[in-house]
């Protein structure tokens, strides 16, 4: 399989064999490869705040021997003066070998990929796509459960605006899994996703009560209620405390349930769960480095 020169923009761009190949290379990238991308430069163009995505991409590049340039605040760029994404990318491609872009504007990564002659990786475009998060989630599930097929996976929280949940559900639909969507009605998984998943033969269940289904789950994927995605602040206030998982959850779950979260969390998982064997969210974040190392190496054609 050849990923050289490919853009990583949307979960829709991948086949199952693409995903399996990326997971395989990510496993290999857990080993040290300090010279693999020697002489290569990554441009990180971050038009909105990010902790994990930017730092783990930078860490991935440094660990492979490459260098990084970029910005993490559009106020310090010419975009502030009105420069377009298109022009910003045409400039960045002159200075680098691969670009990671994050923007609150949906579709900007797709546009960046059309503008650039070098590979572009989407580090998140608004509520649309966040493919590298989806890949590290998939990698984490496979790593901790040793399989994906047959798992019962619960998604809890903001399923309406949560791009990670939407993308992960679509990616998981390549496998025979069962999905439980746990959210208040107003934040439930959009109907068109449920329809698409059911058309692919995925059993989908919807509920607003986590304890109603928690006993069945192998994975509970929790997400933050994202203030920044709510068009109406009053609406956010209504739902921000919808779910608060704490130690009482342990009486209602299987012994080997694993709790995932794309982070940051703002209270939906109490810290008292962190030290239990169920919590894998920090390991999940750490897996981001191996997955992003794999993606950088793959799109630069240097994975071997």
């Amino acid at each position: 399989m050849n990923f050289k020169g490919r853009d990583i923009i949307s979960v829709r761009d991948f086949s199952k064999s693409d995903l399996l190949y990326i997971l395989k290379i990510a496993k290999e990238m857990e080993k040290e490869k300090p010279k693999l991308l020697d002489g290569k430069i990554l441009a990180t163009l971050f038009f909105e705040p990010s902790t994990r995505t930017r730092l783990s991409f930078e860490s991935a590049m440094f660990r492979l021997g490459g260098k990084v340039l970029g910005f993490s605040d559009e106020k310090v760029t010419s975009v502030k003066k009105g420069e377009t994404v298109w022009d910003t990318i045409k400039m960045a491609e002159c200075y680098s070998d691969v670009i990671v872009i994050r923007s609150p504007v949906e579709g900007s990564a797709r546009l960046a990929a059309e503008a650039a002659s070098i590979p572009v990786i989407n580090g998140g475009d608004g509520a649309n796509q966040h493919p590298t998060q989806m890949l590290l989630d998939l990698y984490t599930i496979q790593k901790i459960k040793k399989k994906i097929e047959g798992l019962k996976i619960g998604f809890l929280g903001d399923l309406k605006y949560g791009r990670t949940v939407n993308s992960l559900a679509i990616a998981l639909s390549f496998w025979k899994v069962e999905m439980y969507f746990i959210a208040p009605d107003a934040l439930q998984m959009p109907e068109h996703y449920i329809k698409e998943l059911r058309e692919k033969g995925i059993k989908c269940h919807k509920t607003s009560d986590v304890f109603e289904v928690s006993q069945k789950l192998d994975i509970l994927y929790v997400t933050r209620i994202q203030q920044e995605r709510f068009p109406d602040p009053l609406e956010y206030e209504k739902y921000k405390n919808a779910y608060r998982l704490d130690i009482t959850l342990l009486d209602h779950i299987k012994k080997d349930l694993k709790i995932m979260h794309p982070l940051p969390r703002v209270g939906e998982i109490n810290a008292e769960l962190d030290d239990t064997e169920h919590a894998v969210y920090f390991e999940q974040a750490a897996n981001g480095v191996a997955v992003r190392k794999a993606l950088l190496a793959l799109v630069l054609g240097e994975e071997k």
């Binding site: 609150p104 949906e106 579709g107 797709r110 608004g126 509520a127 649309n128």
Partner: protein, 151 residues
């Protein structure tokens, strides 16, 4: 003899088999204010094919492919006839292309197409009922949600 509800045209285009409820929307997207010759329109005619239909007759004007594509978005069963000297010289069954380029606006306010000057692109996911997806923000729209570009 069949009653003729709208007078025949010598040269021009006849658009038939439009759903009655969408006929006004269709005439609007063709920018009739820019046409210099008469346009006749009839609504709520009986149709074996679609029940209640509308017909538009445009004098001295032949529709372009891009105009025909716009009609296909709202009226997948429409037929477009080119009339020359009172005779039908060509009958075009409208057909949606796989991709609609520069035809629709994405109404997502945070889509890049609302921020920068870009030619819009939509993938047709389904023709009946219509479902299209913005190439950039990936938002999916149904027939009643799409916004068709004016000129």
């Amino acid at each position: 003899m069949k009653e003729r509800r709208i007078p025949a045209i010598k040269d021009g285009t006849v658009i038939d088999h439009l759903p009655s409820r969408d006929t006004f929307r269709i005439i609007r997207i063709l920018n009739p204010q820019e046409f210099k010759h008469p346009i006749n329109l009839a609504l709520n005619l009986n149709s074996k094919k679609i029940g209640s239909k509308g017909v538009i007759k445009i004098d001295s004007r032949f529709l372009t492919q891009s105009e025909v594509n716009k009609i296909a978005i709202l009226a997948p069963n429409a037929t477009v006839s080119i009339i020359k000297n009172y005779k039908t010289t060509e009958k075009i069954q409208v057909k949606l292309p796989e991709e609609l380029v520069g035809v629709l606006n994405c109404t997502n306010p945070v889509c890049i197409t609302s921020k920068e000057v870009i030619i819009s692109k939509f993938k047709v996911l389904r023709e009946k009922p219509l479902e299209v997806k913005c190439h950039y923000c990936e938002r999916v729209y149904g027939k009643d949600e799409v916004e068709i570009k004016g000129k």
